[in-house]
Protein backbone atom coordinates (compact mmCIF):
# COMPACT_ATOMS: atom_id res chain seq x y z
CA UNK A 1 0.00 0.00 0.00
CA UNK A 2 1.19 3.50 -0.82
CA UNK A 3 0.47 6.77 0.95
CA UNK A 4 -0.51 10.28 0.01
CA UNK A 5 -1.69 13.59 1.37
CA UNK A 6 -4.94 15.29 0.51
CA UNK A 7 -5.21 19.08 0.50
CA UNK A 8 -8.42 21.11 0.69
CA UNK A 9 -6.67 24.20 2.10
CA UNK A 10 -9.06 24.70 4.99
CA UNK A 11 -9.16 28.00 6.86
CA UNK A 12 -11.82 28.35 9.53
CA UNK A 13 -12.95 31.94 10.06
CA UNK A 14 -11.88 33.42 13.39
CA UNK A 15 -14.73 32.95 15.88
CA UNK A 16 -14.76 36.57 16.91
CA UNK A 17 -14.26 38.32 13.56
CA UNK A 18 -16.23 38.66 10.34
CA UNK A 19 -13.23 37.98 8.13
CA UNK A 20 -9.83 36.27 8.18
CA UNK A 21 -6.63 38.06 9.03
CA UNK A 22 -5.18 39.61 5.84
CA UNK A 23 -2.26 37.18 5.84
CA UNK A 24 -4.20 34.02 6.69
CA UNK A 25 -4.46 32.58 3.16
CA UNK A 26 -0.84 33.46 2.40
CA UNK A 27 0.37 31.68 5.53
CA UNK A 28 -1.80 28.65 4.88
CA UNK A 29 -0.44 28.21 1.35
CA UNK A 30 3.18 28.59 2.45
CA UNK A 31 2.66 26.18 5.34
CA UNK A 32 1.12 23.64 3.00
CA UNK A 33 4.16 23.83 0.73
CA UNK A 34 6.42 23.25 3.75
CA UNK A 35 4.33 20.22 4.70
CA UNK A 36 4.54 18.77 1.20
CA UNK A 37 8.29 19.31 1.06
CA UNK A 38 8.61 17.40 4.33
CA UNK A 39 6.29 14.65 3.08
CA UNK A 40 8.45 14.23 -0.01
CA UNK A 41 11.54 13.85 2.14
CA UNK A 42 9.76 11.33 4.38
CA UNK A 43 8.77 9.08 1.49
CA UNK A 44 5.09 9.87 1.09
CA UNK A 45 4.22 8.84 -2.45
CA UNK A 46 1.48 11.27 -3.58
CA UNK A 47 -0.27 14.52 -2.89
CA UNK A 48 -3.76 15.15 -4.21
CA UNK A 49 -4.96 18.73 -4.46
CA UNK A 50 -8.68 19.43 -4.76
CA UNK A 51 -10.37 21.98 -6.98
CA UNK A 52 -13.23 23.76 -5.26
CA UNK A 53 -14.78 27.16 -5.76
CA UNK A 54 -16.53 29.48 -3.32
CA UNK A 55 -16.53 26.94 -0.44
CA UNK A 56 -15.33 29.39 2.20
CA UNK A 57 -13.54 27.84 5.17
CA UNK A 58 -13.99 24.30 3.79
CA UNK A 59 -11.67 24.67 0.79
CA UNK A 60 -9.64 27.60 -0.51
CA UNK A 61 -8.05 25.46 -3.23
CA UNK A 62 -9.53 26.93 -6.40
CA UNK A 63 -6.36 26.93 -8.55
CA UNK A 64 -4.72 23.57 -7.86
CA UNK A 65 -2.62 23.72 -11.01
CA UNK A 66 -0.81 26.77 -9.63
CA UNK A 67 -0.26 25.23 -6.22
CA UNK A 68 0.94 21.93 -7.68
CA UNK A 69 3.37 23.79 -9.94
CA UNK A 70 4.82 25.47 -6.86
CA UNK A 71 4.99 22.09 -5.08
CA UNK A 72 6.77 20.58 -8.08
CA UNK A 73 9.67 22.96 -7.60
CA UNK A 74 10.13 22.09 -3.93
CA UNK A 75 9.92 18.32 -4.23
CA UNK A 76 11.76 15.56 -6.05
CA UNK A 77 9.81 12.33 -5.99
CA UNK A 78 6.29 12.81 -4.70
CA UNK A 79 3.56 12.37 -7.31
CA UNK A 80 1.46 15.48 -7.96
CA UNK A 81 -2.23 14.60 -8.18
CA UNK A 82 -5.23 16.63 -9.14
CA UNK A 83 -7.83 15.39 -6.74
CA UNK A 84 -9.68 16.38 -8.81
CA UNK A 85 -9.94 18.72 -11.83
CA UNK A 86 -13.53 19.79 -12.39
CA UNK A 87 -14.23 18.61 -15.92
CA UNK A 88 -17.61 20.15 -16.90
CA UNK A 89 -16.58 22.70 -19.56
CA UNK A 90 -18.27 25.55 -17.73
CA UNK A 91 -15.64 25.17 -14.99
CA UNK A 92 -12.63 24.60 -17.23
CA UNK A 93 -12.39 24.67 -21.01
CA UNK A 94 -11.09 21.21 -22.01
CA UNK A 95 -8.22 22.66 -24.07
CA UNK A 96 -7.07 24.69 -21.05
CA UNK A 97 -7.17 21.53 -18.91
CA UNK A 98 -5.03 19.64 -21.43
CA UNK A 99 -2.55 22.51 -21.62
CA UNK A 100 -2.24 22.86 -17.85
CA UNK A 101 -1.90 19.12 -17.18
CA UNK A 102 0.81 18.81 -19.84
CA UNK A 103 2.69 21.88 -18.61
CA UNK A 104 2.63 20.64 -15.02
CA UNK A 105 3.84 17.25 -16.20
CA UNK A 106 6.76 18.90 -17.99
CA UNK A 107 7.85 21.18 -15.16
CA UNK A 108 7.56 18.31 -12.65
CA UNK A 109 9.55 15.83 -14.76
CA UNK A 110 6.52 13.61 -15.34
CA UNK A 111 4.98 13.38 -11.88
CA UNK A 112 1.34 14.26 -12.65
CA UNK A 113 -1.65 12.10 -11.71
CA UNK A 114 -4.66 13.35 -13.66
CA UNK A 115 -7.67 13.13 -11.35
CA UNK A 116 -11.03 14.10 -12.83
CA UNK A 117 -14.50 14.73 -11.45
CA UNK A 118 -17.76 16.62 -11.65
CA UNK A 119 -18.37 18.54 -8.42
CA UNK A 120 -21.54 18.21 -6.41
CA UNK A 121 -22.11 21.29 -4.26
CA UNK A 122 -24.81 23.80 -5.02
CA UNK A 123 -22.42 26.71 -4.43
CA UNK A 124 -20.13 25.54 -7.23
CA UNK A 125 -22.68 24.26 -9.72
CA UNK A 126 -24.86 27.33 -9.26
CA UNK A 127 -21.86 29.64 -9.50
CA UNK A 128 -20.80 28.25 -12.85
CA UNK A 129 -24.21 27.31 -14.26
CA UNK A 130 -23.71 23.53 -14.24
CA UNK A 131 -26.92 21.47 -14.06
CA UNK A 132 -26.76 18.57 -11.62
CA UNK A 133 -28.47 16.17 -14.03
CA UNK A 134 -25.94 16.92 -16.79
CA UNK A 135 -22.67 16.97 -14.89
CA UNK A 136 -21.71 13.30 -15.33
CA UNK A 137 -22.32 13.45 -19.07
CA UNK A 138 -20.25 16.66 -19.17
CA UNK A 139 -17.48 14.96 -17.20
CA UNK A 140 -17.34 12.00 -19.58
CA UNK A 141 -17.45 14.08 -22.75
CA UNK A 142 -14.79 16.54 -21.57
CA UNK A 143 -12.49 13.82 -20.17
CA UNK A 144 -12.57 11.86 -23.43
CA UNK A 145 -11.68 15.00 -25.38
CA UNK A 146 -8.90 16.16 -23.05
CA UNK A 147 -7.20 12.77 -23.39
CA UNK A 148 -7.39 13.07 -27.18
CA UNK A 149 -5.88 16.56 -26.98
CA UNK A 150 -2.94 15.13 -25.05
CA UNK A 151 -2.38 12.27 -27.50
CA UNK A 152 -3.46 13.44 -30.98
CA UNK A 153 -1.23 15.62 -33.20
CA UNK A 154 -3.16 17.58 -34.16
CA UNK A 155 -6.29 17.14 -32.04
CA UNK A 156 -9.03 16.39 -34.54
CA UNK A 157 -11.66 18.58 -32.90
CA UNK A 158 -15.19 17.73 -31.85
CA UNK A 159 -18.79 18.87 -31.95
CA UNK A 160 -20.06 17.41 -28.71
CA UNK A 161 -23.17 18.03 -26.71
CA UNK A 162 -21.52 20.34 -24.19
CA UNK A 163 -18.35 21.44 -25.91
CA UNK A 164 -17.02 21.89 -29.41
CA UNK A 165 -13.88 23.16 -31.08
CA UNK A 166 -12.18 22.80 -34.46
CA UNK A 167 -9.00 20.88 -35.08
CA UNK A 168 -5.98 22.42 -33.36
CA UNK A 169 -2.67 21.09 -32.15
CA UNK A 170 -3.06 21.41 -28.38
CA UNK A 171 0.43 21.97 -26.98
CA UNK A 172 2.52 21.21 -25.07
CA UNK A 173 2.09 17.44 -24.79
CA UNK A 174 2.69 15.75 -21.43
CA UNK A 175 6.03 14.13 -20.66
CA UNK A 176 4.37 10.87 -19.57
CA UNK A 177 3.23 8.86 -22.58
CA UNK A 178 0.61 8.32 -23.72
CA UNK A 179 -0.71 10.57 -20.93
CA UNK A 180 -0.51 10.80 -17.12
CA UNK A 181 -2.37 8.15 -15.08
CA UNK A 182 -6.12 8.77 -15.03
CA UNK A 183 -8.34 8.89 -11.95
CA UNK A 184 -11.94 9.74 -11.19
CA UNK A 185 -13.44 10.91 -7.90
CA UNK A 186 -15.74 8.19 -6.59
CA UNK A 187 -17.82 9.48 -3.74
CA UNK A 188 -20.52 6.99 -4.76
CA UNK A 189 -19.83 3.28 -4.93
CA UNK A 190 -21.28 3.14 -8.44
CA UNK A 191 -18.58 5.49 -9.71
CA UNK A 192 -15.88 3.03 -8.61
CA UNK A 193 -17.44 0.59 -11.06
CA UNK A 194 -17.55 3.29 -13.75
CA UNK A 195 -13.83 3.81 -13.07
CA UNK A 196 -13.11 0.11 -13.50
CA UNK A 197 -14.99 -0.08 -16.78
CA UNK A 198 -13.16 2.98 -18.13
CA UNK A 199 -9.74 1.89 -16.88
CA UNK A 200 -9.39 4.70 -14.36
CA UNK A 201 -8.18 4.78 -10.78
CA UNK A 202 -10.91 5.31 -8.20
CA UNK A 203 -10.37 8.13 -5.71
CA UNK A 204 -12.86 7.01 -3.10
CA UNK A 205 -14.02 8.97 -0.10
CA UNK A 206 -16.08 6.38 1.62
CA UNK A 207 -14.78 3.06 2.81
CA UNK A 208 -16.47 0.01 4.16
CA UNK A 209 -15.94 -2.92 6.45
CA UNK A 210 -13.05 -5.22 5.48
CA UNK A 211 -15.38 -7.75 3.88
CA UNK A 212 -17.17 -5.07 1.88
CA UNK A 213 -13.87 -3.46 0.90
CA UNK A 214 -12.47 -6.76 -0.26
CA UNK A 215 -15.63 -7.44 -2.22
CA UNK A 216 -15.34 -4.02 -3.82
CA UNK A 217 -11.69 -4.60 -4.76
CA UNK A 218 -12.51 -8.03 -6.21
CA UNK A 219 -15.35 -6.59 -8.29
CA UNK A 220 -13.28 -3.60 -9.42
CA UNK A 221 -10.42 -5.78 -10.68
CA UNK A 222 -12.82 -8.31 -12.25
CA UNK A 223 -14.36 -5.47 -14.26
CA UNK A 224 -10.89 -4.22 -15.26
CA UNK A 225 -10.10 -7.72 -16.55
CA UNK A 226 -13.40 -8.54 -18.20
CA UNK A 227 -15.43 -5.42 -19.01
CA UNK A 228 -13.00 -2.58 -19.48
CA UNK A 229 -13.43 -0.11 -22.37
CA UNK A 230 -10.60 2.33 -21.66
CA UNK A 231 -11.34 6.01 -21.83
CA UNK A 232 -7.64 6.68 -22.44
CA UNK A 233 -4.80 4.96 -24.22
CA UNK A 234 -3.46 3.42 -21.02
CA UNK A 235 -5.32 2.23 -17.94
CA UNK A 236 -4.65 3.02 -14.30
CA UNK A 237 -6.14 0.21 -12.21
CA UNK A 238 -6.00 1.55 -8.66
CA UNK A 239 -8.19 1.94 -5.60
CA UNK A 240 -7.54 4.87 -3.26
CA UNK A 241 -9.33 5.96 -0.11
CA UNK A 242 -9.14 9.09 2.02
CA UNK A 243 -8.96 9.22 5.79
CA UNK A 244 -8.10 11.79 8.45
CA UNK A 245 -4.68 11.59 10.07
CA UNK A 246 -3.47 12.76 13.46
CA UNK A 247 -0.51 10.70 14.65
CA UNK A 248 1.14 11.57 17.97
CA UNK A 249 3.06 9.74 20.67
CA UNK A 250 -0.05 8.50 22.42
CA UNK A 251 -3.75 8.27 21.66
CA UNK A 252 -4.72 11.02 24.09
CA UNK A 253 -2.41 13.56 22.47
CA UNK A 254 -3.54 12.53 18.98
CA UNK A 255 -7.17 13.01 19.93
CA UNK A 256 -6.48 16.31 21.72
CA UNK A 257 -4.60 17.72 18.73
CA UNK A 258 -6.49 16.05 15.91
CA UNK A 259 -10.12 15.43 16.72
CA UNK A 260 -11.45 18.96 16.33
CA UNK A 261 -9.91 19.30 12.86
CA UNK A 262 -11.44 15.98 11.81
CA UNK A 263 -14.82 17.07 13.10
CA UNK A 264 -14.62 20.43 11.36
CA UNK A 265 -13.71 18.69 8.12
CA UNK A 266 -16.85 16.57 8.36
CA UNK A 267 -18.99 19.44 9.65
CA UNK A 268 -18.03 21.88 6.90
CA UNK A 269 -18.27 19.18 4.23
CA UNK A 270 -21.78 18.31 5.40
CA UNK A 271 -22.64 22.02 5.50
CA UNK A 272 -21.81 22.57 1.83
CA UNK A 273 -23.08 19.27 0.46
CA UNK A 274 -26.40 19.40 2.27
CA UNK A 275 -28.60 21.45 -0.08
CA UNK A 276 -30.55 22.91 2.86
CA UNK A 277 -27.43 24.58 4.29
CA UNK A 278 -24.95 24.74 1.42
CA UNK A 279 -27.59 25.86 -1.05
CA UNK A 280 -28.51 28.77 1.19
CA UNK A 281 -24.99 29.82 2.18
CA UNK A 282 -24.59 33.60 2.36
CA UNK A 283 -21.26 34.33 0.62
CA UNK A 284 -18.83 36.37 2.64
CA UNK A 285 -21.11 36.55 5.66
CA UNK A 286 -21.52 33.20 7.38
CA UNK A 287 -19.09 31.95 10.00
CA UNK A 288 -19.18 28.16 9.73
CA UNK A 289 -16.46 27.64 12.32
CA UNK A 290 -18.36 29.67 14.91
CA UNK A 291 -21.43 27.51 14.32
CA UNK A 292 -19.28 24.41 14.64
CA UNK A 293 -17.61 25.47 17.89
CA UNK A 294 -20.92 26.45 19.43
CA UNK A 295 -22.66 23.22 18.36
CA UNK A 296 -23.26 20.53 21.00
CA UNK A 297 -20.62 17.78 20.95
CA UNK A 298 -22.96 15.26 19.33
CA UNK A 299 -23.63 17.63 16.40
CA UNK A 300 -20.01 18.31 15.61
CA UNK A 301 -19.78 15.58 12.98
CA UNK A 302 -22.21 17.61 10.96
CA UNK A 303 -25.56 17.15 9.31
CA UNK A 304 -24.83 13.64 8.09
CA UNK A 305 -24.08 12.52 11.63
CA UNK A 306 -23.06 8.93 12.05
CA UNK A 307 -22.31 8.47 8.37
CA UNK A 308 -19.28 10.68 8.87
CA UNK A 309 -18.28 9.58 12.32
CA UNK A 310 -15.95 7.03 10.81
CA UNK A 311 -15.10 9.22 7.85
CA UNK A 312 -12.69 7.33 5.65
CA UNK A 313 -12.38 4.65 8.26
CA UNK A 314 -14.22 1.45 8.87
CA UNK A 315 -17.39 3.15 9.93
CA UNK A 316 -19.21 1.52 12.76
CA UNK A 317 -22.27 3.16 11.26
CA UNK A 318 -24.99 4.06 13.67
CA UNK A 319 -23.93 1.54 16.32
CA UNK A 320 -23.93 3.29 19.71
CA UNK A 321 -22.39 0.51 21.76
CA UNK A 322 -19.22 -1.44 21.28
CA UNK A 323 -19.85 -4.61 19.28
CA UNK A 324 -19.00 -7.89 21.00
CA UNK A 325 -16.99 -9.43 18.18
CA UNK A 326 -13.31 -8.57 18.59
CA UNK A 327 -12.57 -7.54 15.02
CA UNK A 328 -15.75 -5.53 14.65
CA UNK A 329 -15.07 -3.85 17.98
CA UNK A 330 -11.59 -2.81 16.87
CA UNK A 331 -13.03 -1.33 13.70
CA UNK A 332 -15.83 0.35 15.61
CA UNK A 333 -13.28 1.97 17.88
CA UNK A 334 -11.27 3.12 14.89
CA UNK A 335 -14.40 4.61 13.40
CA UNK A 336 -15.24 6.51 16.58
CA UNK A 337 -11.88 8.22 16.30
CA UNK A 338 -12.52 9.25 12.70
CA UNK A 339 -9.92 7.24 10.81
CA UNK A 340 -6.24 7.37 11.68
CA UNK A 341 -6.25 9.45 14.86
CA UNK A 342 -3.98 7.90 17.46
CA UNK A 343 -0.52 6.69 18.36
CA UNK A 344 1.75 5.16 15.68
CA UNK A 345 0.66 1.71 16.86
CA UNK A 346 -3.02 2.61 16.59
CA UNK A 347 -2.61 4.14 13.13
CA UNK A 348 -0.55 1.16 11.98
CA UNK A 349 -3.20 -1.30 13.19
CA UNK A 350 -5.91 0.61 11.36
CA UNK A 351 -3.90 0.78 8.15
CA UNK A 352 -3.10 -2.93 8.25
CA UNK A 353 -6.79 -3.62 7.89
CA UNK A 354 -6.95 -1.48 4.78
CA UNK A 355 -3.84 -3.24 3.50
CA UNK A 356 -5.49 -6.62 4.07
CA UNK A 357 -8.42 -5.51 1.93
CA UNK A 358 -5.95 -4.75 -0.92
CA UNK A 359 -6.29 -0.99 -0.92
CA UNK A 360 -3.64 0.48 -3.25
CA UNK A 361 -3.34 3.95 -1.82
CA UNK A 362 -4.35 5.60 1.44
CA UNK A 363 -4.57 9.38 1.22
CA UNK A 364 -4.42 11.32 4.49
CA UNK A 365 -6.14 14.56 5.34
CA UNK A 366 -3.56 16.06 7.70
CA UNK A 367 -4.30 19.76 7.30
CA UNK A 368 -7.88 20.46 8.36
CA UNK A 369 -9.84 22.74 10.63
CA UNK A 370 -7.81 24.92 12.94
CA UNK A 371 -4.90 22.49 13.36
CA UNK A 372 -1.60 24.30 13.81
CA UNK A 373 1.10 24.00 11.16
CA UNK A 374 3.51 22.71 13.80
CA UNK A 375 1.13 19.92 14.79
CA UNK A 376 0.60 18.93 11.16
CA UNK A 377 4.38 18.77 10.60
CA UNK A 378 4.83 16.76 13.80
CA UNK A 379 2.09 14.31 12.80
CA UNK A 380 3.54 13.88 9.29
CA UNK A 381 7.03 13.30 10.66
CA UNK A 382 5.83 10.63 13.06
CA UNK A 383 3.76 8.91 10.36
CA UNK A 384 6.64 9.02 7.89
CA UNK A 385 9.17 7.61 10.34
CA UNK A 386 7.12 5.24 12.52
CA UNK A 387 4.20 4.05 10.39
CA UNK A 388 4.97 4.07 6.68
CA UNK A 389 8.29 2.13 6.62
CA UNK A 390 6.80 -1.28 7.45
CA UNK A 391 4.18 -0.85 4.70
CA UNK A 392 6.88 0.04 2.20
CA UNK A 393 8.65 -3.21 3.08
CA UNK A 394 5.50 -5.16 2.30
CA UNK A 395 4.56 -3.31 -0.87
CA UNK A 396 6.21 -5.92 -3.07
CA UNK A 397 3.70 -8.46 -1.79
CA UNK A 398 0.88 -6.14 -2.78
CA UNK A 399 2.45 -5.70 -6.21
CA UNK A 400 2.36 -9.45 -6.68
CA UNK A 401 -1.33 -9.50 -5.76
CA UNK A 402 -1.92 -6.76 -8.33
CA UNK A 403 -0.03 -8.70 -10.99
CA UNK A 404 -2.31 -11.68 -10.36
CA UNK A 405 -5.38 -9.46 -10.63
CA UNK A 406 -4.18 -7.92 -13.87
CA UNK A 407 -2.92 -11.11 -15.51
CA UNK A 408 -4.24 -11.32 -19.03
CA UNK A 409 -5.19 -7.66 -19.31
CA UNK A 410 -4.14 -6.55 -22.78
CA UNK A 411 -4.51 -2.80 -22.35
CA UNK A 412 -1.39 -0.74 -21.70
CA UNK A 413 -1.05 -0.01 -17.98
CA UNK A 414 0.57 3.18 -16.68
CA UNK A 415 -0.30 2.99 -13.00
CA UNK A 416 2.29 4.29 -10.51
CA UNK A 417 1.09 2.06 -7.66
Amino acid sequence: MKFGLFYEHQIPRPRDKDQWDPDAEHKMMKNALDQIELADQLGFDYIFEVEHHFLEEYSHSSAPEVFLAAASQRTKNIRLGHGITLMPPRYNHPARVAERIATLDLVSDGRVEFGTGESASEMEMGGFGVRREDKKQMWEEATREVIKMMTQTPYKGTEGQYFGMPSRNVIPKPLQKPHPPLWVASSRRETTMVAARLGMGSLGFAFETPDEAKERADEYFRLVREECYPIGEAINPALAAVTILSCFEDDEEAIAKGMEGAQFFAYSLAYYYNPFTGGNHKPGQENIYKGFIEAPEDKRWGAFGDAFRGFGGFSGGAAKEEPEDEVTRALWRAAQRGGCIGSPDFVTDTLRKYEDSHLDLMIFVAQCGARSHEDVMDSLYRTGTKVIPEFKERHEKHQKWREEQLAGVEHEINSTI
Binding site: E133, T191, D218
Partner: protein
Protein backbone atom coordinates in the same frame (compact mmCIF):
# COMPACT_ATOMS: atom_id res chain seq x y z
CA UNK B 1 -16.23 -15.56 -8.55
CA UNK B 2 -19.85 -15.22 -9.76
CA UNK B 3 -20.72 -11.84 -11.23
CA UNK B 4 -23.34 -9.60 -9.66
CA UNK B 5 -25.84 -10.62 -12.32
CA UNK B 6 -25.19 -14.31 -11.63
CA UNK B 7 -25.77 -13.74 -7.90
CA UNK B 8 -29.35 -12.50 -8.38
CA UNK B 9 -31.68 -15.29 -7.28
CA UNK B 10 -34.92 -14.06 -8.85
CA UNK B 11 -35.05 -15.32 -12.42
CA UNK B 12 -36.95 -12.38 -13.92
CA UNK B 13 -34.73 -9.78 -12.31
CA UNK B 14 -31.62 -11.71 -13.27
CA UNK B 15 -32.86 -11.73 -16.85
CA UNK B 16 -33.46 -7.96 -16.79
CA UNK B 17 -29.95 -7.25 -15.57
CA UNK B 18 -28.43 -9.71 -18.03
CA UNK B 19 -30.22 -7.81 -20.81
CA UNK B 20 -29.01 -4.50 -19.35
CA UNK B 21 -25.45 -5.80 -19.28
CA UNK B 22 -25.74 -6.88 -22.92
CA UNK B 23 -27.15 -3.46 -23.83
CA UNK B 24 -24.19 -1.79 -22.12
CA UNK B 25 -21.77 -3.82 -24.21
CA UNK B 26 -23.77 -2.95 -27.33
CA UNK B 27 -23.64 0.77 -26.56
CA UNK B 28 -27.42 1.02 -26.03
CA UNK B 29 -27.20 3.23 -22.98
CA UNK B 30 -30.82 4.34 -22.78
CA UNK B 31 -31.87 0.70 -22.80
CA UNK B 32 -29.53 0.06 -19.87
CA UNK B 33 -31.18 2.86 -17.90
CA UNK B 34 -34.68 1.65 -18.85
CA UNK B 35 -34.03 -1.96 -17.83
CA UNK B 36 -32.20 -1.07 -14.62
CA UNK B 37 -34.82 1.46 -13.55
CA UNK B 38 -37.69 -0.91 -14.31
CA UNK B 39 -36.01 -3.60 -12.22
CA UNK B 40 -35.63 -1.13 -9.37
CA UNK B 41 -39.30 -0.12 -9.52
CA UNK B 42 -40.16 -3.82 -9.41
CA UNK B 43 -37.93 -4.22 -6.34
CA UNK B 44 -39.71 -1.35 -4.57
CA UNK B 45 -43.10 -2.85 -5.39
CA UNK B 46 -42.06 -6.17 -3.91
CA UNK B 47 -40.45 -4.54 -0.87
CA UNK B 48 -42.80 -1.70 0.08
CA UNK B 49 -40.92 -1.28 3.38
CA UNK B 50 -38.19 0.36 1.29
CA UNK B 51 -40.56 3.30 0.83
CA UNK B 52 -41.40 3.71 4.50
CA UNK B 53 -39.96 6.44 6.76
CA UNK B 54 -36.26 7.13 6.45
CA UNK B 55 -35.92 4.21 4.05
CA UNK B 56 -37.82 6.25 1.48
CA UNK B 57 -35.22 9.00 1.74
CA UNK B 58 -32.38 6.55 1.17
CA UNK B 59 -34.06 4.67 -1.65
CA UNK B 60 -35.74 7.51 -3.55
CA UNK B 61 -33.62 10.62 -3.02
CA UNK B 62 -30.35 8.73 -3.54
CA UNK B 63 -31.59 7.14 -6.78
CA UNK B 64 -29.43 8.66 -9.57
CA UNK B 65 -30.76 11.88 -11.08
CA UNK B 66 -28.84 11.84 -14.34
CA UNK B 67 -31.57 12.22 -16.93
CA UNK B 68 -34.13 9.96 -15.26
CA UNK B 69 -35.33 10.19 -11.67
CA UNK B 70 -37.60 8.36 -9.32
CA UNK B 71 -40.74 9.75 -7.71
CA UNK B 72 -43.43 8.32 -5.48
CA UNK B 73 -46.78 9.21 -7.05
CA UNK B 74 -49.99 10.19 -5.29
CA UNK B 75 -50.93 6.53 -4.91
CA UNK B 76 -47.68 5.85 -3.09
CA UNK B 77 -46.28 3.94 -6.05
CA UNK B 78 -42.74 4.46 -7.38
CA UNK B 79 -42.36 5.58 -10.96
CA UNK B 80 -39.56 6.79 -13.22
CA UNK B 81 -39.71 10.29 -14.71
CA UNK B 82 -37.66 10.78 -17.88
CA UNK B 83 -35.87 14.10 -18.22
CA UNK B 84 -34.08 13.32 -21.47
CA UNK B 85 -33.64 10.62 -24.10
CA UNK B 86 -29.87 10.33 -24.44
CA UNK B 87 -27.51 8.82 -21.87
CA UNK B 88 -23.75 8.41 -21.71
CA UNK B 89 -21.79 5.26 -20.88
CA UNK B 90 -20.96 6.48 -17.35
CA UNK B 91 -24.59 7.39 -16.66
CA UNK B 92 -25.77 3.98 -17.83
CA UNK B 93 -23.23 2.25 -15.58
CA UNK B 94 -24.32 4.41 -12.65
CA UNK B 95 -27.98 3.34 -12.99
CA UNK B 96 -26.96 -0.28 -13.53
CA UNK B 97 -24.68 -0.45 -10.49
CA UNK B 98 -27.00 1.44 -8.14
CA UNK B 99 -29.97 -0.76 -8.93
CA UNK B 100 -28.19 -4.12 -9.02
CA UNK B 101 -26.56 -3.42 -5.63
CA UNK B 102 -30.01 -2.67 -4.16
CA UNK B 103 -31.46 -5.88 -5.59
CA UNK B 104 -28.58 -7.94 -4.20
CA UNK B 105 -28.83 -6.23 -0.82
CA UNK B 106 -32.55 -7.05 -0.72
CA UNK B 107 -31.64 -10.72 -1.17
CA UNK B 108 -33.66 -11.20 -4.35
Amino acid sequence: MPTKVERIQDEALRGSFADAQAALKAGEYKKVVELSSAAYVELLRRKPEMLQGQQQFMNVVFFPRLGAHLVVNNDGQPEIVWDREKFSFSEAVTYFEFTIDKVLKAGL
